[in-house]
Symmetry: C2
Subunit: 136 residues, 2 copies
DNA sequence: GGTTGTTTATTAGTGTACAAACGAATAACC
DNA sequence: GGTTATTCGTTTGTACACTAATAAACAACC
């Protein structure tokens, strides 16, 4: 059987990611990227934490999370403060504006997920997500 | 039902992509990235073509494919030549070295795919790939 | 208390990925 | 033949994503 690029999981995963990013950006009104969105939602779930820990909890390495935090701070959604007990750490937390948009973010996220999964039935979505999670 | 980041298709897709990239790089001996690999395999499938067309056939925009072509050329896997019938076009084709590694690339690709899909049974892989393709 | 090892944050470098804008060449059309 | 539209390749700018290296701070240990 010949090797065909169009049948390879890595290539198809890349295409699926591209489509999701397209849907995300189409609906995005707050000017957030999927990565910034993930970090912001995660802070909402976890509460305040250090920059590196936030990176680990959103699967971003130290160099990536630094840039994301910088941009979220510039957009006013988070605030940074020194950790009183550990001089190495920077504590990242939601700003008042960040608190205000969390509900809006969740509604937005639901819409993006719905449209991304639109080609699949409800039963299929469940099966698909279960299998996809096993590949992470 | 609360919104949970860990259940969102976009976030999980990103994680699956990360794992695949990790597996790819672990086995990569030719120094290629997944993107460069895709472009090279595609030229092998299609034969010589213009730079922009190659980009379209590998889902890369004009700015991205330009960088990929530049690096594949620098590594000696492809060669570039002016299109005799269209002065705008650059014809991209496999170099002798590129031809030589195509079989090796296919074997490598099979291995990466196999390891990436290892958590799924044969039946599950078929179902999963079918559903994933519908999300592209 | 001092050594050892780890964690935190930063920086530099490479490689996707997309939007937007540009000039040059080609195609379509009247 | 000349206008219009499209295509091709390039460049600029922003944003992930990872590697590797660094310095500062902290923890564990004898």
């Amino acid at each position: 059987m010949a090797y065909r690029l169009d049948e390879q999981i890595g290539y198809i995963l890349r295409l699926a990611n591209q489509r999701h990013a397209l849907i995300f950006n189409k609906h995005s009104d707050l000017g957030l990227t999927p990565t910034q969105f993930a970090a912001l939602v995660r802070i909402g779930e976890m509460g305040a934490c250090s920059q590196n820990l936030l990176g680990r909890r959103t699967a971003m390495d130290v160099a990536t999370i630094k840039g994301v935090v910088t941009r979220l701070k510039a957009k006013g959604f988070i605030q940074l403060s020194p950790d009183p007990g550990d001089k190495r750490r920077t504590v990242v937390s939601l700003s008042a504006q960040g608190q205000d948009v969390i509900d809006q973010l969740h509604a937005f996220g639901e819409k993006v997920t719905e449209e991304t999964l639109a080609p699949l039935s409800d039963t299929e979505r469940k099966v698909f997500l279960d299998m996809l999670k096993r590949l992470t």
